[in-house]
Point group: C2
Chain length 346, copies 2
């Protein structure tokens, strides 16, 4: 599989992830394949909805490649959803237009957990197929990123049934039934390890773990119920660089030094200067405020310059501090990408 | 007005706010007057809704005092809403059952701002009346806390028209039109200063400023568009102790040292040990995870012990790290309060 890497025409992001100096800072954007692009909306509108797009490998590959062609990013990220894992475990989700994901059935008891299984990698063959098609069609232009949700974030969705302001149902379990919590977190972790390994086998050149709801946990719970499981995933995968992005979990950064990952993602509240001294041996990713792309071209340029300056000569993969907001003007996204390329060139 | 303080039978919280050693740690809870209490729900159900309750001084006073009688807290906080300020400025809000606040009209342009005014303290006479009735009925049992939203949080509501996952409309203005943003923030600040002064004149013994949406801002914007205005409010009010609670703005704590307030509120992600060394001259408030109250009595006791230990002998006002969640068992809330009283007694 690693033969692919050797064939890459642009491997900036892989070299940056390994801590090597690069001729310029590589860049990709969280949610780069998505609603910001009219070309994406056209594909999506031709299908019954988000899930059909996720489950149709040819079309998923198509929207995965769009931002490489249109925006000029240095990596593609496979178009999918973190919620395919709970689905493969036995909990079906729906994607409700403008409202987000919804699980008709949630996990509330030991009996609910008994009805679940550890995901069988063969269940998610549409993802692996999409990765293979993407790799073929990319033809080595840029690396392909695979991904999964962190166990805590997946757990939250399975308990809450959707997004939440407080995640108090999921968090309550961490005080009221730690055994149940660990049982489910273990199953998610095992499912995720199998899933990510298959993504790598299918051609993913690097991986990102998204802990979208990291920020709601007290630090002690974060170590005990999230980072522990993320760490287990990182230990199980050795073939490709892994990025861990724990949104909002600023307090966990010092502890993340010991995680077996190559890159740590920063949100826009986190301080690159502090992160540089915390992580002398890891690459950093991020962290422009997605709202900065609402500014004028001058504002975008100066904010980009400020961001690049803050990361200095530390190994860095430029990105936003969270997913690009759907109503962002694609021309401004392109300009941000151009600014990173231009301003970081040595 | 300060005659009131001298008449208080329990002034623990005021002494703690002034940094004095107290015989035990005082405690109150954010959202203590509210849905957790069946007695509150009975009053609310006898009226047309939340807003009628806020605007009917006798009933607002009644639910303000309920937690003093029922839960045994060391302070009452006037029952009201931070959104009375935008309303007094000319932007009416509705409280939608189970969904939260909604502004039918929002601020999007200079013309929208022109249609607003700096709140006239006389507009909110129902709040001052409720404070006076509460003070009379409390009869010196415990101090009464007045409050307001921080300008940035009020601004967010006025732009967004309600809650939001990203607050991207409000935040976008900070990149795209800082003049408009400052103009509105100034008006909110002036309105809030007048409002808080009148609360103090009416009998409020201390004040809290809630910056509920602090956590969405990059640190530079937080200093520039939030803390600056909070600071101006604190400078304008000298009669009573002020608490600033900037939820989620962990990065702003070092800068808050210079704010003219007595107490800094911590959410459950913030670390009391670190805050103690940051704020040698300020009292700290917080910060039990509201979800801890879903645990068993043993869990509540041990989590309370842990919290008290973390604050050590630093001047401390015990509280949750955010408002109590509405589905919390009132018996467990009472138990938490008892634990603080018992475990902190010298």
């Amino acid at each position: 599989m690693r033969i692919f890497a050797a064939m890459l025409k642009n491997d900036l992001i892989l070299r940056a992830a390994r801590g090597e100096k690069t001729e310029r800072t590589p860049i990709w954007l969280m949610r780069q394949a998505g609603r910001i692009l009219p070309e994406y909306r056209a594909v999506r509108n031709s299908l019954s909805g988000f899930k059909e797009l996720v489950e149709t490998p040819e079309r998923a590959a198509e929207v995965t490649i769009q931002p490489v062609d249109i925006l000029g990013v240095d990596a593609a990220i496979i178009f999918s959803d973190i919620l395919v894992i709970p689905e493969a475990m036995g909990l079906t989700y729906e994607m409700v237009e403008k409202k987000g994901p919804h699980f008709p059935k949630t996990v509330q008891s030991k009996a609910d957990i008994k009805a679940l299984k550890i995901a069988d990698p063969s269940d998610l063959s549409y993802v692996y197929e999409a990765i293979k098609i993407t790799k073929t069609e990319l033809n080595g232009r840029v690396p392909l990123i695979g991904f999964a949700g962190a166990p805590w974030t997946i757990f939250s969705y399975m308990i809450e049934g959707g997004g939440s302001k407080t995640f108090s149902k999921a968090r309550r379990l961490l005080y009221s039934d730690t055994e149940l919590a660990d049982q489910l977190l273990n199953m998610i972790t095992e499912s995720t390890i199998g899933y990510l390994k298959k993504q790598v086998e299918s051609g993913a050149d690097m991986l990102q773990i998204f802990d979208s709801w990291a920020g709601v946990l007290p630090s002690e719970h974060y170590s005990r119920f999230s980072l522990k499981y993320i760490s287990r995933i990182c230990d199980a995968i050795n073939d490709v660089p892994i990025t861990v992005f724990a949104k909002g979990a600023w307090w966990a950064l010092p502890e993340m030094k010991d995680i077996n990952c190559h890159t740590v993602g920063l949100d826009w509240n986190m301080n690159p200067e502090e992160a540089r001294s915390l992580f002398p041996n890891k690459t950093l990713q991020g962290n422009l405020d997605p709202c900065a792309l609402y500014g004028s071209l001058d504002t975008i340029k100066s904010e980009t310059q400020k961001m690049l300056h803050a990361f200095g000569d530390h190994p860095h993969i430029a990105n936003l501090g969270h997913g690009v907001y759907p109503d962002t003007d694609p021309e401004k996204v392109k300009y941000f990408i151009e600014c990173v390329k231009e301003l970081s060139s040595h």
